[in-house]
């Protein structure tokens, strides 16, 4: 047969059209979704947070590049996955983490958890969490002691500076409208933020800024240590104004990112929802037990808004590589993480359980996938019938 005129780039087999979906685009969507939490983290915790994020992402990118060169792979530095690992790892650190801790952990996440196992698609646990656990084991003091106070508590200790800044602000915003509590709160928040900025310019010592996180308070001082659970106390936890890791404190920012991801259909969101629901349910049922107040006396909202639950549920549990591929498997996975989180938080040695819960569940994923295989057309079971071979 004669060759046709007109050069054609032949695709040898069907299908010949494609949806246009792209792995790179999914990765960068996740990066975009992580931006609000990072911005709020820097806003709350200041320059230290920005430096930590920068070191983490930078180290991750450099490590990725080194791995590409050493393993002679097609460069994957710009596919977004190293940036995600860098950001997520940083979001799991306290704002004032020493630079060597950040760098070592980011390097570990990318080089060991990801590349030693084969690169993108082959890691068996979440790289950022692998890095966090490594750091927790190698420098335990850092993760326990270096929590920074967000702006509110600082302001409470420096009233003179507050008054000064507050006057400047009230000249701009002076409204008494419907959402008064929130408006007042935000005004105070702005005041305090600027106060802190002013104070930072006068170089106040770091020690004055540290405090315990909400979950640490709960574990070691019980519900009495936690001052109240009304709207006024929960709102700061929702907006992020509590001590904690850089990216995990602001539920509002995280939810914003999560909504974006769901709209872009970038994550397996059923996993997140089951995780959160299970953790909430179990913390309600069993939350009072360590304090001897009986069943059904826990405070689910407090637990959901504290610690890395939202960050973990929406951004780390849904990492496609380390989560199940079946829908039913995702439900089982989410429930497992919910159970593990609550068990560790209530009865384990550590106040925070999400990182361990996610990593332990990651390890179970191949097993979960096998257990939850769907039914194949024409068969009664997930496997095809034995005589199908023709």
């Amino acid at each position: 047969m004669a060759k046709a005129e007109g050069k054609a780039a032949v695709v040898p087999f069907s299908p010949h059209i494609h949806s246009g979906a792209s792995t790179t685009r999914i990765m960068w969507d996740v990066v975009i979704a992580l931006m609000p939490a990072g911005i709020v983290g820097v806003w709350l915790f200041g320059k230290g947070a920005l430096v930590t994020i920068g070191i983490s992402v930078g180290t991750a990118l450099v490590t990725e590049l080194l791995a590409n060169l050493l393993l002679k792979r097609v460069p994957t530095v710009l596919d977004g996955s190293a940036v995600i690992t860098g950001l997520l790892f940083a979001y799991n650190l306290p704002p004032a983490a020493p630079w060597y801790v950040t760098a070592a952990g980011a390097f570990f996440s990318v080089a060991v958890v990801k590349w030693a196992f084969g690169g993108l698609g082959s890691n068996f646990m979440n790289p950022a969490l692998g890095g966090r656990i490594f750091v927790m084991a190698a420098w335990p003091a850092v993760m326990i002691n270096h929590w920074s106070l967000p702006v509110d508590s600082f302001a409470a200790q420096h009233p003179a500076v507050v008054a000064n800044v507050s006057m400047k602000i009230s000249m701009v915003t002076n409204r008494d409208e419907i959402v008064a509590p929130v408006t007042n709160y935000l005004t105070n928040f702005a005041t305090n933020f600027l106060t802190r900025a002013e104070a930072a310019a006068k170089t106040v010592s770091v020690d004055a800024l540290t405090s315990a996180t909400p979950l640490t308070t709960l574990k070691f001082h019980g519900w009495d240590g936690v001052q109240g659970l009304g709207f006024d106390q929960l709102l700061p936890r929702f907006l992020g104004n509590v001590p904690g890791c850089i990216g995990e404190t602001s539920a509002a920012a995280l939810l914003l990112g999560a909504v974006y991801l769901v709209a872009r259909r970038a994550i397996k969101v059923h996993i997140s929802l089951v995780f959160i629901a299970t953790a909430a349910l179990l913390s309600w049922v069993f939350g009072g037990l360590p304090f001897h107040s009986g069943l059904f006396t826990g405070h689910p909202l407090y637990h959901v808004l504290s610690g890395g639950l939202l960050l973990g549920a929406f951004f780390m549990a849904t990492d496609p590589v380390t989560s199940p591929i079946t829908f039913a498997g995702g439900i089982v996975f989410g429930a497992l993480m919910g159970v593990l989180t609550v068990v560790i938080r209530l009865w384990g040695g550590s106040p925070e359980g999400v990182s361990y819960a996610i990593v332990l569940a990651n390890i179970f994923v191949p097993f979960i996938d096998r257990l939850t295989r769907g039914r194949i057309y024409g068969c009664k079971l997930p496997r095809p019938k034995a005589e199908a071979a023709k």
């Binding site: 087999f13 010949h16 024409g378």
Partner: protein, 441 residues
């Protein structure tokens, strides 16, 4: 209106039906045709002519060999100039007859036969004489399909008008323009199969067809309209059964085991023409369309017409990317414009370079979109990895490799553009070769 659909997965591929509004026109008679001796499932036909022979339109030039085989006819009058082995789109090294066109065209519609007076054996013989095969793409000899094995009770006949691939509108136009001919074909098929319930499977995007048949069938019992949700691959025979009949074909078996037979609409029209007018299968309707074609169309084309002949009438762009015989999801690509139109070719889809599916070599990130869209309930990502690791045995026995219908949903949805269907096909052929080797040793 209640819509039927298959249970799992499905996609809405891009493309639309740009030719849906265009009535069928007869393509100009080509100067020559190339007629393959094998355009059907089963044994190749035995060539009956040699170079120099003069043939009339409709003469038998290839004789069916055995039960599962089909006659082949000259689609134009003229002189045989060559009999040689050629590489076609669907197979290589096929014996083909080249005929230079010349002579008188016949009028096939002059005499009508009353098929109701014939017994089933005679009707089947007429279908076999005419070389009718499945025109939906599979090309199974129709006279065999419409005579189910004894012991299989056929309760349902699925008339497949669900043209689910993008760009294709040949069946739609044929049925819209000749509904009575289709119905007559359905009645003939019903008689042959023992009067099963017939379902006209029509997608809801073709609501005019649904309404048309709604009114035509008011006084007819035994034939009903089954409206379907428009989603790909609704037209797959096995999935139609799950959607309309709520029954599944058991893994590894054929539809009669599940008590039904499915036939493409164009096949039934060809059956009608064979039985009522004695017309052999020498032409078919196809859609010439695609993102690379400015003026698409639906054409009644003689079997054996070189694609080039149609392309010339259309101003095919000189820099097209892919010429696909069939629809873009399951068709086969070709660079060669000299290949002929065969009985299976329901469309020619021309895609531009930018529609070209480029494999990027990114790794699988287990996003599971392939699992979500697979209508058969398989895990394409697992099958892909097993085939790549040559663990085909495991793929067949544990993960259902052989159950894959190769619809292409997985590869369409994959963000890493992994050529999953290609890997599965490789796995299947590897398995077949292993089985053949095992049997012969």
């Amino acid at each position: 209106m209640r819509l039927f659909s298959f249970r799992r997965g499905g996609i809405h591929p891009k493309g639309g039906k740009p030719a849906a509004m265009l009535p069928i026109t007869n393509a100009h008679l080509p100067h020559y045709v190339i007629i393959p001796m094998s355009m059907h499932v089963g044994e190749s036909a035995k060539c009956l002519v040699k170079p120099g022979d003069v043939v009339r339109e409709g003469d038998r030039i290839g004789e069916a060999v055995g039960l599962i085989s089909s006659h082949v006819h000259a689609s134009v009058p003229g002189r045989v100039t060559a009999v040689q082995k050629l590489d076609l789109v669907h197979a290589k090294g096929v014996e083909c007859v080249r005929i230079e066109t010349g002579g008188n065209i016949r009028n096939w519609y002059a005499e009508k036969r009353d098929w109701k007076k014939l017994d089933n054996a005679k009707i089947l013989e007429a279908i076999r004489e005419a070389g009718v095969v499945g025109l939906g793409g599979a090309c199974f000899p129709t006279h065999v399909k419409l005579s189910p094995p004894p012991g299989c009770e056929i309760k349902d006949l699925l008339v497949n008008i669900a043209e689910c691939e993008p760009y294709l509108s040949a069946d739609y136009r044929l049925v819209l323009e000749r509904p009575e001919d289709l119905l007559e074909g359905v009645r003939i098929a019903r008689k042959l199969l023992g009067n099963p319930q017939a379902h006209l499977c029509i997608e809801d995007s073709q609501s005019d067809l649904i309404e048309l048949f709604g009114s035509l069938l008011q006084d007819e019992s035994g034939i009903v309209v089954a409206p379907l949700r428009s989603v790909y691959p609704q037209g797959s025979e096995k999935l139609l059964a799950q959607a309309v009949l709520r029954r599944e074909v058991p893994s590894g078996k054929l539809p009669p085991v599940a008590g039904f037979v499915a036939q493409n609409a164009a096949t039934l029209v060809a059956v009608m023409e064979a039985v009522v007018y004695g017309k052999p299968l020498i032409d078919r309707v196809l859609t010439f369309s695609g993102a690379g074609v400015k003026e698409p169309g639906n054409y009644k084309v003689r079997i054996g017409t070189p694609i080039r002949h149609l392309a010339q009438d259309h101003g095919l762009p000189s820099k097209y990317a892919v010429l696909v015989a069939g629809g873009p999801m399951m068709g086969r690509s070709t660079e060669d414009q000299d290949v002929p139109v065969v009985k299976a070719m329901n469309g020619i889809t021309v895609l531009r370079k930018k529609d070209d599916y480029r494999v990027k070599n990114q790794p699988c990130i287990r996003c599971a979109r392939c699992v979500d869209v697979c209508p058969t309930g398989l895990e394409p990502t697992t099958l892909s990895k097993l085939c790549e690791a040559m663990r085909v045995e495991e793929a067949v026995s544990e993960y259902g490799l052989l159950n894959c219908i190769e619809c292409g949903n997985c590869a369409y949805a994959c963000p890493s553009t992994i050529p999953i269907v290609g890997q599965i096909r490789w796995g299947k052929s590897f398995w077949t070769r292993q089985q053949v080797r095992a049997k012969s040793s």
